[in-house]
């Protein structure tokens, strides 16, 4: 058993900690207020190689491990969840499907520019009427004269409409199987495809600086070769993609909780009430001790899931446990962090106010708490 980070894991954590503190932190409040996509930050992150962090060097990546990836997301989320989700969605949802299921030609065409951070990419699963019930996908792709002709709508798609976005990979019904069930496949849809349009950015409660849009497909045609992976395996493939994604979303929750704890601790030491810093009062100490305990617990779970993935083991259960638990921990921690700040925590100029808003989606995105419990129960054999 060894809880020490390796030299390069430590170096990647240090890099992301310094980058978040020196580059991201001074811009976080304004980006959130203006709901402005952090182009300058994203370009710098691309230059540092963060968007290709876990992919092999031959595909333009850095060849680092999942533990390092989780550490990177955690450190960014400690300062700004919008920046963290932009990275996490790109790596886990945008680029990973090409790495996991793409042909060598698709990897060369799509994965390499994504790993280099030259492009961003979306993953379109959710629909206005199909969220947790992803099998209810209504979007259809019909094969006509060597082309997939797509019709339908996708909702809440991250990184789908930035100036850097190259396209989105979607799930679509491509037929029915022998038993009459929908056959779902993954299809690559480049941004310039006629008939493929993006809405304006949603006006969101949290993650305001990240890019989230609704996508519409009206007879949008792409070549037959834009099928990603095996026809009819779309549902299975995206479940596998989401397993990996849970590690990064769990890391994001831990980072967010940690950032709120950092702020609460700093505030409690500085704020004087009844003649002494409020950190001297047991009521505040107990809150901070509980926050620390829960963050440490969640962090260890995330690291274990990442480690299992790096070891090539089945990590689905640990990743689900970590995602569910760290999402709930982040809610309790941001709530107490605001409570410790008192009225100031309700004011926008204190980061905990933004963190409080950024937290809620951690319990909804990439599998709600309820779906997560279902996944866990199934993995327990129930």
């Amino acid at each position: 058993m060894n809880f020490d980070l390796s030299g390069d894991q430590q170096a990647i954590q240090d890099l992301c900690r310094e980058f978040a503190r020196d580059v991201v932190a001074p811009q976080a409040e304004a980006l959130d207020r203006e709901a402005e996509f952090p182009y300058a930050i994203v370009r710098q992150m691309a230059g540092l190689g963060l968007f290709g962090l876990p992919f092999p060097e031959k595909y333009g990546g850095a060849g680092a491990d999942t533990v390092s990836y989780a550490l990177a997301v955690m450190e960014l989320a400690r300062i700004d969840a919008s920046v963290a989700i932009t990275l996490a969605a790109h790596v886990s949802l945008g680029a990973s499907p090409f790495y996991l299921f793409g042909t060598e030609a698709q990897k060369a065409e799509y994965l390499v520019p994504l790993a280099r951070g030259e492009q961003l990419w979306g993953f379109g699963l959710t629909e206005p009427g199909a969220g947790s019930d992803a099998g209810a996908t209504q979007t259809r792709a019909e094969l006509r004269a060597g082309q997939w002709v797509i019709n339908g709508t996708k909702a809440f798609i991250t990184n789908s409409g930035t100036d850097l976005t190259g396209g989105t990979t979607i799930t679509a019904v491509t037929g029915t199987d022998a038993a009459g069930r929908s056959e779902i496949s993954n299809i690559i849809v480049p941004q310039a495809t006629p008939g493929f349009t993006r809405s304006k950015k949603y006006n969101k409660m949290g993650w305001r600086a990240s890019d989230t849009r609704e996508l519409s497909f009206a007879d949008a045609a792409v070549p037959e070769g834009n099928l990603l992976g095996v026809r009819g395996r779309g549902l299975k493939q995206f479940l596998q993609i989401l397993d990996g994604g849970r590690i990064s979303v769990a890391a994001l929750s831990v980072g967010l909780a940690w950032g709120a704890y950092d702020e609460a601790l700093k505030y409690a030491k500085a704020r004087i009430a009844f003649g002494q810093p409020i950190a001297k009062f047991q009521a505040i100490q107990f809150k901070l001790a509980d926050m620390r305990m829960e963050i440490e617990h969640a962090r260890v779970m995330v690291m274990k899931a990442a480690w299992e993935k790096d070891e090539g083991r089945d990590f689905a259960l640990t990743a689900s446990l970590a995602k569910l638990y760290s999402g709930e921990v982040s809610r309790r921690v941001v709530n107490e962090a605001v409570q410790i700040h008192g009225g100031y925590g309700f004011m926008d100029e204190y980061p905990v106010s933004r963190m409080y808003r950024d937290q809620k989606i951690n319990e909804i995105g990439e599998g709600t708490n309820e779906i997560q419990r279902l996944v866990i129960a199934r993995l327990m054999g129930l």
């Binding site: 990647i12 890099l15 230059g47 540092l48 850095a62």
Partner: protein
């Protein structure tokens, strides 16, 4: 020694490992030295400007010139040194020996000079000071022991035709100085911002060499470590706690301002 124009340069950046400024610090009352733990050791932030200057010179020359990091530190600091390699330096040399412990700035400069001569150098770069001792004396002492011109407080540095030219910052303006190589320059914080180590750099640094030189590997002709130190810390005391401030209560803002102005004038502070 005259350095021919077309030769690749050996740029050596001397760095110090210091306690993380964000970590809690403790002084051993017996030795009056800082208790150092490996986990809380970082590259001296001032030295990152020297590393950046060295890397930019190397990139501008683009002729195969190299950047070598040298530090006098226990081997436990290896991973800290690796950060400089991740930023892009080619190799590192650690001068590590229990005999070096307790060196003051002069003994440190002497050991560093011995190490740098052993490595071979055309240009030595340093930061202007360390965040722990803050003497600011090392660049001068090192130039002295190396027997080369010391161009201190450089905010810009160029190398051409076997000479180094720096723009130097003074209290009242700038000087441009030039000297033949080999030479030493210390780089200020107003030079280029140090780069972040990229992922590519971090992964590449794993394969780069960090050599370790001991006392016996160096030509040392005088006492080093605590025995070679000229300076001794004779006493350490905490600064006195600041007295509570004075609160001015007044009927309105104008009256309050007048009271404060009078208070400051009385003490010749205004």
């Amino acid at each position: 020694m005259v350095i021919p124009e077309d030769r690749q340069l050996n740029i050596v950046v001397a760095v110090k490992l210091v306690p993380d400024t964000n970590a809690d610090k403790r002084i051993d009352p017996q030795t009056r030295r800082l208790v150092r733990s490996a986990a809380e050791t970082v590259l001296n932030p001032f030295d990152e400007y020297a590393i950046e200057a060295g890397l930019q010179l190397k990139e501008q020359l683009a002729d195969g010139s190299s950047v070598t990091i040298v530090t006098m530190a226990p081997e436990s600091g290896k991973e800290v040194v690796r950060k400089a390699l991740a930023m892009g330096a080619d190799r590192a040399v650690m001068l590590s020996d229990p005999a070096f412990a307790g060196s003051d700035v002069w003994a440190t400069a002497y050991v560093l000079a011995a190490g740098i001569r052993r490595i071979g150098f055309d240009l030595v770069l340093t930061g202007t000071q360390s965040t722990d001792a803050i003497t600011g004396e090392l660049p001068g002492a090192l130039a002295e022991y190396l027997g080369v011109p010391g161009l201190t407080y450089a905010r810009e540095i160029h190398v051409a035709a076997g000479r180094v030219r720096v723009k130097r910052e003074t209290d009242t303006g700038y000087q441009t100085l030039s000297a033949p190589l080999p030479a030493l320059a210390s780089i200020t914080k107003s030079a280029a911002e140090p780069r972040f180590a990229s992922l590519k750099g971090i992964m590449a640094a794993k394969k780069k060499e960090i050599a370790v030189l001991r006392l016996a590997d160096l030509e040392i002709a005088q006492a080093v470590g605590g025995d070679g130190a000229k300076l001794e810390v004779t006493e350490l005391t905490a600064s006195p706690a600041r007295a509570a401030g004075k609160t001015v209560t007044a009927a309105d803002g104008n009256a309050g301002a007048r009271t404060i102005v009078a208070f400051l004038k009385e003490r010749n502070l205004l």
